[in-house]
Symmetry: C6
Subunit: 79 residues, 6 copies
Amino acid sequence: MTDGQDTWLPSLVTPTPQAGFELAIKLARMGVKYTQPSDAVRKELRPAYDRDAEALIASSHVIPVHFQTIAAANSWWRG
Amino acid sequence: MTDGQDTWLPSLVTPTPQAGFELAIKLARMGVKYTQPSDAVRKELRPAYDRDAEALIASSHVIPVHFQTIAAANSWWRG
Amino acid sequence: MTDGQDTWLPSLVTPTPQAGFELAIKLARMGVKYTQPSDAVRKELRPAYDRDAEALIASSHVIPVHFQTIAAANSWWRG
Amino acid sequence: MTDGQDTWLPSLVTPTPQAGFELAIKLARMGVKYTQPSDAVRKELRPAYDRDAEALIASSHVIPVHFQTIAAANSWWRG
Amino acid sequence: MTDGQDTWLPSLVTPTPQAGFELAIKLARMGVKYTQPSDAVRKELRPAYDRDAEALIASSHVIPVHFQTIAAANSWWRG
Amino acid sequence: MTDGQDTWLPSLVTPTPQAGFELAIKLARMGVKYTQPSDAVRKELRPAYDRDAEALIASSHVIPVHFQTIAAANSWWRG
């Protein structure tokens, strides 16, 4: 809870693995947003970002680590 | 379970390590799909993607992290 | 507590996952700072750093590993 | 056990750390094979793949993550 | 304790998270040193190394994995 | 214990963290060796490999993951 900022991550607990995967994608995007807070620069980067297979793969690479963290937080939804 | 979307990941539990490995590949592909939802752009990228040894290796790099998560979820199929 | 240096990391414990995510970003930045202590060189690098989608993604890649460590330190804020 | 496919990964348990390391290399290769199932394309890529130091290192980078998973599955062969 | 070499890593235990972070940086540097033992070559590489944003980020990428190991060794300094 | 091959990895247990770090470097090198078994090609690659800061850093990147595995195997040498 940072002063003057929205709460966007209240919990790592999700009802299903799929919801956990989607949370991992959200964390990946928030990491980019915090690293480059300017919307204008991010939009300018978007074309290269969208078209470059290497960047696409690199970007999707961040997701597995976040998903691993979220899966552990949920005891792997073993229940 | 996102509204209006199919359930594609109901569980991380798989009967065998090999089925777990194949689930890891599915997660790797879904990460790319969520990152670049346009089928048209993904198809355009496909030639570079298919032929570039670097991209190939980078892509296969995502698999081990997902497989690690799935293996933990299954207690490494020790039973 | 290094002699003559400020304490910038007293604990890995945070009240919320979001505060943990923001601490992960701080650790990512401190890693860059320790690797390249010269402010002048870091500022010179900043333009490329700010504009290059690849570098942006790579940079945000460090965050998930730190977040994973912090999440474990907080028992995933399971409550 | 996928229908119509060979079982190539019946277990993560190995008698020794070295056998576990060799299994990690097998998993690394299977990740490439699943990502690029065409033998013809893989063979075409092989020269670059064999000669490029960067690709060589990137490729060997996949092995440690798989080895980490296998080591955990075997309780680190602590005996 | 390698014959004829100094002991530079007697323990992973540190008094504080910050001291653990600084040990992670030391391990990152020792990894480079062991990989490229020649001081002359390392010095020659230094200019590119110091100025290249990509290399800087990649280098700082090694730190989080070492920090994760050290944090676990210290039970996350939970106190 | 592969038929007709030397045993080079009998155990992950080491007496000290430093010996564990050196074992991690050995595993990193063995990963390259298994990926590119030809001594001739490896030697040809050596100049680029030795001089390129990026490759140097990437190579040292493999070490932290192996060190993490070995540290866990040794219960972090907590003693």
